[in-house]
């Protein structure tokens, strides 16, 4: 398969950190000319970060990038990547919505300039669309904003494969089929095989393992920012792939919860939440009092929307939430923190009902409440009157926990609250959740970290907005959850 002595692209020792989070740790990646490389891994494994480094949109902290025999050092950028024939189709669509398909092609390909560029762009993109997606139904003069999400994705893919003055070396496709229907997805994968046969290289990222297994020559598995496995596609099966994604790496498993006693809650305690996701059908979400219920599945498959639906529960006809709720945001900056306020005020805002006397907040009570929660939950600050932004991210998150737990809410909704929180803080919060649940509070916990499901009494797995599986505490193994997240035919 190797047509030349040098690989199309090779990356060695790529490392990238965002604050305390290690997104990539010494990743090596080699793509041969005419090779289609499949890349799989769970959410946050580092796939997208790695692709951004290859595309030049993110600079790695360390590592070497070679294109052919050329070492590309500092100053590597999307423009340089383009010159070397590296093209990228990212998950977030990047076409300008107010321009036509042809005009977007002009923006991507700087060579389309001078008199008559528009006619050239129209001809090029039209031909490429016809080649990849026969019968696509997109006119080059269509404004992007008027196209459906699937057609936008098709236009963007065609744009990336269009050749002007520089040859095509490597195309990166990050979840290209997630917004395409089955037949167009098939068209794309077929085209990809013929393109690869001509000597172009490709990297394909997909959560649909069947696609990866069928289309790639070789598969690299990522976990926790590392490339943990790399083998020819023929040596993988769906099951070994799932196993490689889920079980390789650290074993930070939770202590087994007192299973028998807790699972009896389902039988003995009344139902406090009954809801069906608005975003899709599938099973019904049932939560009993005092349970910790996990919402699992790939990121963005309807879990957060489910939580918001429960938050608005009282006002919706088809959703029953029979006790007061509080919400703990995972995205602290946009959903949680009031940046101008002190720690105390950030905590007390959930507890107006208990702090009001004669229409006014009792400031002494407010401070006492914040103080007691600082001690209880271990918020590291000398003075709760300090600004909330003086705290580290993990401690800000603790303040948000304190806000919800100090309130009168009996049900706590958690939107992946451990994002970017250090291990020590996590352990403290897990214990707190357990203790509060023992005391009769109910938790609905969306998490992207499979390890955390061990703390849940029951887990619902989401896919495409629907609940596709409900698993008891003992059944919620990584394999079961991953299998349900990825496959249509999973146990329900």
């Amino acid at each position: 398969m190797c047509l030349a002595a040098f690989p199309a692209i090779s990356l060695t020792g790529a490392t990238k950190s965002f604050g305390a989070v290690r997104a990539l740790e010494r990743v090596d990646l080699v793509v041969a000319p005419g090779e289609c490389l499949g890349l799989v891994g769970h959410n946050g494994a580092g796939k997208s970060t790695l692709m951004h480094v290859l595309a030049g949109t993110l600079a790695a902290d360390a590592g070497e990038l070679r294109v052919g025999a050329t070492l590309l050092g500092r100053g590597y950028s999307p423009a340089v990547a383009y010159r070397y024939g590296i093209r990228c189709v990212f998950q977030e669509l990047s076409l300008c919505p107010n321009l036509s398909v042809a005009e977007n092609t002009r923006i991507f390909h700087g060579a389309l300039k001078g008199f008559g560029w528009k006619a050239k762009a129209r001809a090029l993109i039209g031909a490429k669309l016809d080649e990849i997606f026969p019968g696509h139904g997109i006119a080059p003069d269509d404004e992007v904003a008027d196209l459906s999400i699937g057609k936008r994705q098709m236009a963007e893919i065609a744009c990336a494969f269009t050749v002007t003055d520089t040859p095509l070396r490597l195309v990166i496709l990050d979840e290209p089929t997630s917004s395409l229907d089955a037949s167009t997805a098939q068209q794309l994968l077929t085209f990809l095989r013929t393109e690869v046969a001509k000597g172009t290289s490709a990297i394909l990222i997909s959560h649909l393992l069947k696609e990866i297994l069928k289309t790639s020559d070789r598969i690299v598995v990522m976990k926790d920012g590392k490339a943990v496995d790399a083998r020819p596609a023929a040596q993988f099966t769906r099951d070994t792939l799932v196993a490689a994604m889920g079980t390789v790496g650290e074993h930070g498993k939770a202590e087994a919860a007192p299973g028998a006693k807790r699972s009896a809650l389902r039988a003995s305690q009344p139902v406090v939440i009954r809801a069906k996701p608005h975003t899709g059908g599938g099973q019904e979400l049932l939560v009993h009092r005092g349970e910790v219920v996990g919402l699992a599945g790939l990121a963005g498959h309807g879990q957060t929307r489910m939580l918001l639906q429960l938050f608005d529960g009282g006002r919706l006809a088809d959703t029953t939430v029979s006790e007061p709720v509080a919400f703990i945001a995972g995205d602290r900056q946009t959903d949680g923190v009031f940046p101008l306020w002190s720690i105390a005020r950030n905590i007390s805002i959930g507890s107006f009902a208990t702090l009001l006397s004669g229409g006014l907040l009792n400031i002494q009570k407010e401070d006492a409440l914040a103080q007691s929660w600082r001690d209880k939950i271990g918020i590291r600050t000398p003075d709760i009157g300090n600004p909330i932004l003086s705290l580290s991210g993990g401690n800000q998150q603790k303040a948000l926990f304190a806000r919800a737990l100090a309130s009168l809410a009996r049900i706590v909704l958690m939107d992946d609250p451990m994002r970017g929180v250090d291990v020590g803080t996590k352990q403290e919060v897990y214990e707190l959740i357990r203790a509060e649940a023992e005391a009769g509070r109910t938790f609905v916990w969306y998490t992207t970290e499979l390890d955390e499901l061990a703390y849940c009494d029951h887990t619902y797995v989401f896919r495409n907005g629907a609940i596709v599986a409900g698993l008891g505490q003992a059944e919620a193994t990584e394999e079961r959850v991953l299998a349900s997240s990825f496959h249509e035919d999973s146990a329900a």
Partner: protein, 319 residues
């Protein structure tokens, strides 16, 4: 001063942004009485208190609206002042016994305008700046149609109240000062005030923290319009009747006192003492330029330049 003291002072000034408008007020007043060699210094202050009071009434409402966060502003204040003033004068018809009817009608107009404003903003999703400006046109037109050619004197009781003084201090200023204290306490310690501040910092987080976002925003727009209608009534009482253009100058003045007074235009941070300082400053600034004998053109230019200067000094410290 020792450097350490200066740092401490600078830190304090940063946390109390109203100080700048008061310093500016003091500076302008001193410049004025230095020019007149002390003559009329007391009279200038009394006059400033009277005229600042009207600005403060609408400024407090505008402050609450601006505190709701970026994009929130009430431009319907001038129209509301005019319509509420006209309606109160016409219904009262210079008779003391009818005063209550006039005042209730004016307050009703305020509530209606506020509801209409928020209806446009919430139900029709029109940005506040456009919604309230449109409302102002409608309300102003109503005032013109309703109050055509009127020049009805206020009821004597209202006129007396609006012009009364105790020991040289206008009674109206005292009442409005009390009202300001109430609003200050409400901001710091009531559910409504905390809700306004929280929404101004992060509306999404406020909703998820369980705050009644819609109800709070609605109440705030109604409050601003009601304060404007009160201003219309007392302004008519003070100046011997309503005039259709009497609200015009309060459009910019209400916003200027909010900004100069240290309320954050980005929302989430209100400042009541700053409203007073800024309103006094705005009046004294014009007085000073008059005393210096500046022509109207120069006066306007200087007013603009000095306001920009104060905002630069006060805002620069905050960065």
């Amino acid at each position: 001063m020792m450097p350490e003291q200066m740092i401490r002072w600078a830190r304090w000034a940063r946390s109390e942004p109203w100080i700048w408008s008061w310093l500016a007020t003091l500076g302008v007043w001193l410049a004025t009485i230095a020019f007149t060699q002390g003559r009329g210094s007391g009279e200038v202050l009394t006059a400033a208190l009277v005229f600042a009071t009207f600005t403060v009434i609408v400024g407090l409402g505008q402050m609450m609206v601006v505190t709701l966060g970026p994009g929130n502003v009430d431009l319907s204040i001038p129209g509301t002042i005019a319509l509420a003033g006209c309606a109160a004068m016409k219904l009262t018809d210079s008779e003391n016994p009818l005063l209550l009817v006039g005042i209730l009608a004016a307050l009703g107009i305020g509530v209606a305008v506020g509801m209409f404003n928020y209806g446009l903003i919430r139900l029709l999703r029109i940005p506040p700046i456009i919604a309230t400006l449109s409302t102002s046109f409608i309300v102003q037109s109503a005032a013109i149609a309703y109050g055509r050619g009127i020049r009805i004197k206020p009821a004597p009781m209202l006129a007396d109240f609006a012009t009364a003084r105790i020991l040289g201090v206008p009674v109206l200023a005292m009442v409005v000062a009390l009202g300001s204290i109430v609003i200050g306490i409400a901001l710091a310690r009531s559910r409504f005030g905390r809700s306004v501040l929280a929404i101004g910092q992060n509306m999404r987080a406020a909703r998820l923290a369980g705050i009644a976002v819609d109800r709070t925003r609605f109440a705030t727009y109604v409050l601003s319009a009601v304060l404007a209608s009160i201003c219309g009534v007392v302004l008519s009482g003070f100046s011997g009747g309503a005039a259709l253009d009497m609200g015009d100058e309060y459009l910019l003045a209400s916003i200027a006192v909010v900004v100069i007074g240290g309320t954050s235009v980005a929302g989430g941070k209100a400042n009541v003492p700053g409203i007073w300082g800024a309103a006094l400053f705005m009046y004294l600034l014009v007085t000073m330029l008059n005393t210096f004998g500046a022509s109207p053109g120069i006066r306007l230019i200087m007013t603009g330049v000095i306001i920009i200067g104060v905002i630069l000094v006060a805002g620069g410290e905050e960065q």
